[in-house]
């Protein structure tokens, strides 16, 4: 009998929130290092932030789809470099390509089950964009995916300002990751930061646990 065509109806191995902000000299993004299998914290030490040519990407959602997207973009960047004509994609251009790919897949009713954050720069200005599994996309100085969209985005919008230093940006994202650690069921206390400067220089920091978390019973905490 002819079986009906089926698609991915739900993601299997998933990553949770990615948060990102622009700062004075570039873009900083952060995520945990967990890839969950349903509600099971299965792979606890996976780097979910990846540097590709002129940009840095991270994603929540299906991890295998994210790996595939990483391959697609790497290929695109490599092929451009083979022609030796000095042309290189910039982050906004690659982002536009990624958005088309995401929209194409949603139009085939077979989306890449992700929300992808892309960071980079163009013409001396930081670039930070976000695209979801429907191909809906926007660029913004503050971006958060997954549960972070609900919990981190309000904090980011309130506290972000354009001439933040790296230290300030770092502290702000740490604060968001701490809130997410408290409230998100599918995260662990192992967080990774990555940044890309206006010169395209990428730095991926080694993963580390968040500091300054408090686990006393609420009644005993005296709030400042």
């Amino acid at each position: 009998m002819d079986a009906p065509i089926t698609r991915t109806l739900e993601p299997i191995n998933t990553g949770t929130s990615v948060v990102g902000i622009t700062y004075k000299d570039g873009v900083l993004i952060a995520s945990d290092t967990l890839v969950s299998y349903g509600s099971l914290s299965r792979f606890r030490s996976i780097q979910r932030l990846v540097s590709i040519g002129p940009c840095l990407i991270g994603a929540s959602g299906d991890y295998s789809d994210f790996q595939h997207i990483t391959d697609l973009l790497t290929q695109k960047v490599d092929e451009a470099s083979f022609h030796q004509d000095g042309f290189q994609y910039t982050a906004p251009e690659l982002f536009e390509y990624l958005c088309r790919v995401m929209y194409e897949r949603r139009s085939k009713v077979n989306p890449y089950w992700n929300r992808v954050v892309m960071a980079g720069s163009k013409q001396g200005k930081p670039f930070l964009g976000c695209v979801d599994l429907y191909g809906t996309h926007y660029a913004s100085p503050t971006v958060a995916t997954g549960y972070g969209e609900q919990l981190a985005q309000p904090i980011l919008r309130k506290e972000w300002h354009p001439d933040m230093s790296l230290e300030e940006a770092h502290a702000l994202l740490e604060k968001c990751m701490r809130v997410l650690l408290y409230r998100d069921c599918y995260t662990i206390n192992k967080v990774q930061f990555a940044r890309i400067g206006l010169d395209g220089q990428t730095t991926i920091e080694p993963p580390a646990p968040l500091t300054g978390t408090r686990w006393e019973a609420p009644l005993t905490i005296t709030l400042p």
């Binding site: 391959d71 290929q75 490599d78 092929e79 470099s81 083979f82 022609h83 030796q84």
Partner: protein, 251 residues
């Protein structure tokens, strides 16, 4: 056969001549012998590819690149019909890409040369295709970066690994020069100098058109990637080559 004995056997690659040759393949080899020269050498931890591009017009500002990067660590240079060379470069790029898609590792140079030789050989077997009029030199590193690799594939589909190889109009004088080299001990920069020198030398002997030199390499200094030789080094190599020729002429 109204044109006399032996004629009419060269019209397609699908026909043998009476003494068992496929003339079309030999014509393809001729096309390579009528073109500029390409050289590849495998030194100590490096591969250098060089090609001379005849200056076809006085009004030409700069000749288009002829050495091609196929994957991160593999490059090619070629001699023969330029359009065929480009087609083959694109064919190789596609092969590298699909190999990486399937196996998630870079294609080994040996595998690429085998596949390329199959493709070129296939074009010598039917009347539907003509053979490629190009000889391709593949050079680079495998993903483990341990050993430089160099292969040459000819229009017939013949493909061998080499320490150094040459093709084009002056392939024999070039080979004579290559045979004099101490290849296993040749460093990357020295290899660049040598390729530039030999290309100038063999060109000088035939005293024809002006030409432009193009060199590319893969070595530790380039992170084992195949890239064009930096302009500064290229200029230095050309200068040294010209000085060598002058000194030789004075002596």
């Amino acid at each position: 056969m109204s044109h006399g004995l032996g004629s009419g056997y060269d019209l397609s690659a699908g026909t043998y001549s009476q003494d068992g040759r496929v003339f079309q393949v030999e014509y393809a080899a001729k096309a390579v012998e009528n073109s500029g020269n390409a050289i590849g050498i495998r030194g100590r931890d490096c591969v250098v590819l060089g090609v001379d591009k005849p200056r076809v017009s006085e009004m030409l500002v700069r000749a288009a690149p002829k050495n091609a990067t196929l994957s991160q660590n593999i490059g090619m240079t070629s001699a023969g019909l330029v359009a065929d060379c480009r087609t083959l470069a694109n064919w190789c790029r596609e092969e590298c890409r699909s190999y990486k898609n399937q196996y998630h590792t870079e294609i080994p140079v040996r595998v690429l040369s085998e596949r390329l030789s199959l493709e070129m050989q296939e074009h010598t077997t039917t009347s539907y295709y003509r053979p490629y009029g190009a000889t391709v030199i593949l050079g680079g590193f495998d993903e483990d970066h341990t050993k430089p690799q160099l292969f040459m594939v000819e229009p017939s589909g013949k493909s061998f690994g080499y320490r150094a190889c040459s093709c084009g109009m002056n392939q024999s004088p070039a080979r004579t020069e290559l045979e004099k080299l101490d290849l296993p001990n040749l460093g990357a920069e020295e290899a660049v100098m040598t390729v530039a020198r030999i290309l100038h030398q063999i060109h000088d002997e035939s005293k024809n058109l002006a030409f432009e030199l193009e060199l590319s390499w893969a070595c530790a200094a380039t992170g084992f990637r195949h890239v064009p030789v930096p302009p500064e080094l290229l200029a230095r190599a050309e200068e040294a080559a010209k000085r060598f020729l002058e000194e030789r002429d004075h002596a």
